[in-house]
Amino acid sequence: MRSWLAIVLMVVLGVLMIIAVIQLPQPGSPDAPAQTHVSAYYVEGGKELGGAENLVTAVLLNFRALDTFGEVVVIFSALVAVLAVAAAVAGTGPAGITRTAAETESVEVSPLVAFMVRLLAPFIATFAVFVMLKGHVLPGGGFQGGAVLGAMLILLALFAHRPKPSRFGHPAGLFWLRATGVLAFVLVGLLGLAMTGWMFAMPHDPLAREAMMIALELGIGIGGAAVLIGLFRALADG
């Protein structure tokens, strides 16, 4: 598209959208519908009904557990799709394309960087597990912890050449690890169905509820990290 035409379109769209947004309630006003309807209900009863002091976690894992289940399925499906595309690339690449040495050999990493990454990795992993385990009380949760853990794995893969693909467990185990988030959600959802009669519902017993939340957070976190490193590997190898 010609850039002057795009600029005209941007100006028209911008004027329309700015006219729309300045008629919204002022950002930060406590009287806005975003603060008075569902949110007020969450603040009122979120701790008892949602079972988590962190309301974001209560919304994610309890009030809107079905949405979060869909979210976990989406990121798992993305990994499956990326693996399928990468496999198609490896299988049917046009003849005459061979990888040059520059592509297959990795650049030499400074020993200092590799040492620092290896030194910091256990601490990053500990922090990630902490974020997962305390996600229902403090800021954090499964997705955040999974992102931290996945970033650590990608750092290791980039700078310390670990985990080596061959040593990372056999493919079947890896597949189950990547599906941890989906499986944890299905299992906890069925457990809720058995205990309360509603899918994804949580019993009122605080201890059981906390245990189910932690199981979900750990499942989402570990599964998310496995999916992230899987996406990285598929893109790097493909």
Partner: protein, 127 residues
């Protein structure tokens, strides 16, 4: 006109959204289009999070000694979902871009269009 000042957070999100849309429309490189899409997604997330903001609010952590007003928890949870979906879209798009590069030797949109117009089989030239 006062609203232009008080709603500056929303307007910033609109401007960011338009920057991303402009990049998606004008740039011919598929990778740059993907970056534009990511900028648009960021703008939408910023907009939704802003709706959950409250003046002098605290994070929605209902510890025993916490006192309100609390920021709305729902936009945060929705944006968390949105970020995960955005990551999934980015990863799949990157995989498809790699595949296009392998297949046609280019990720410039105009060259790809010329390629399909001329109807020749893929040359397999890498750039």
């Amino acid at each position: 006109m006062d609203n232009l000042i008080t709603h500056i957070d929303y307007i910033a999100a609109v401007v960011l959204f338009l920057i991303g849309l402009y990049i998606m429309l004008v740039r011919q490189n598929l990778l740059k289009k993907l970056l534009g899409l990511n900028i648009m997604e960021t703008a939408v997330f910023a907009f939704i999070v802003t709706t959950g903001m409250v003046h002098d609010g605290s994070p929605p952590l209902l510890a025993a000694d916490a006192s309100g007003p609390f920021a709305s928890a729902l936009p945060h949870a929705l944006v968390l979902t949105g970020i995960v979906v955005a990551v999934s879209i980015t990863a799949l798009a990157l995989a498809l871009i790699i595949r296009i590069q392998r297949e046609y030797g280019t990720i410039e949109l105009q060259e790809l269009l010329n390629h399909s117009a001329s109807g020749q089989s893929h040359s397999g030239v890498r750039q």
